[in-house]
Amino acid sequence: MTTTAAAIPGGAAPALDLPTLTGGRIVSTGWYGHPVLVSFLRHAG
């Protein structure tokens, strides 16, 4: 199990541009200036 270089500390985070559950949209460049937690979830029940 390996990770891509993009996920390694010190590297630039891959961009995110996704719809939200509430009908909006998130764009990762909007987070600059804050510490950000990005949590990718499993869905196992």
Binding site: T3, A6, P19, L21, W31, P35, V36, S39, H43, G45
Partner: protein, 135 residues
């Protein structure tokens, strides 16, 4: 999503959060978010049906045995059930792994914890990483 239980600690350091999910929104509202008012969350929940971002962030699918033959998975279910939680219907792919990342103020990865099985770091570890980034 234990982060929301003590969101005040994240707010205190000026942090923002986004949770990324991949299942159909209707299924998510009936299962993972059945007891949660998503309109009332202090952070966004983003939907990536194609899982493009999962791949871009280096998050893989587990081997079946890494999930379903892992005793820790059953200990977790047992602990949740004893605490009064209930089993919910699963998603479309129980082998898709997740991960937790903390970004600094410039958008660089300051902390990375991609899952290799069904485990998550303690929230305190994530919060400590965010504090190191600074308010």
């Amino acid at each position: 999503m234990k982060v929301r239980q003590r969101w005040d600690r994240w707010e205190a350091i000026g942090a923002v959060a986004v949770f990324v999910v991949f299942d159909d929104p209707e299924l998510l509202r009936r299962t993972m978010f059945a007891d949660i008012d998503v309109d009332d969350l202090p952070f966004e929940v983003a939907v990536d049906r194609a899982r493009t971002s999962y791949r871009a962030w280096g998050l893989h699918r587990a081997r079946r045995r890494d999930i379903w033959l892992d005793p820790a998975v059953y200990r977790t279910y047992w602990r949740l059930l004893r605490a009064g939680d209930r089993l919910r219907a699963g998603g479309s792919d129980s082998l898709q792994l997740g991960g937790d990342f903390v970004l600094d103020r410039a958008g660089r990865i300051a902390y990375a914890r991609p899952q290799v099985r069904d485990d998550r770091p303690p929230v305190a570890e994530l919060l400590a990483a965010a504090k190191r980034v600074g308010p």
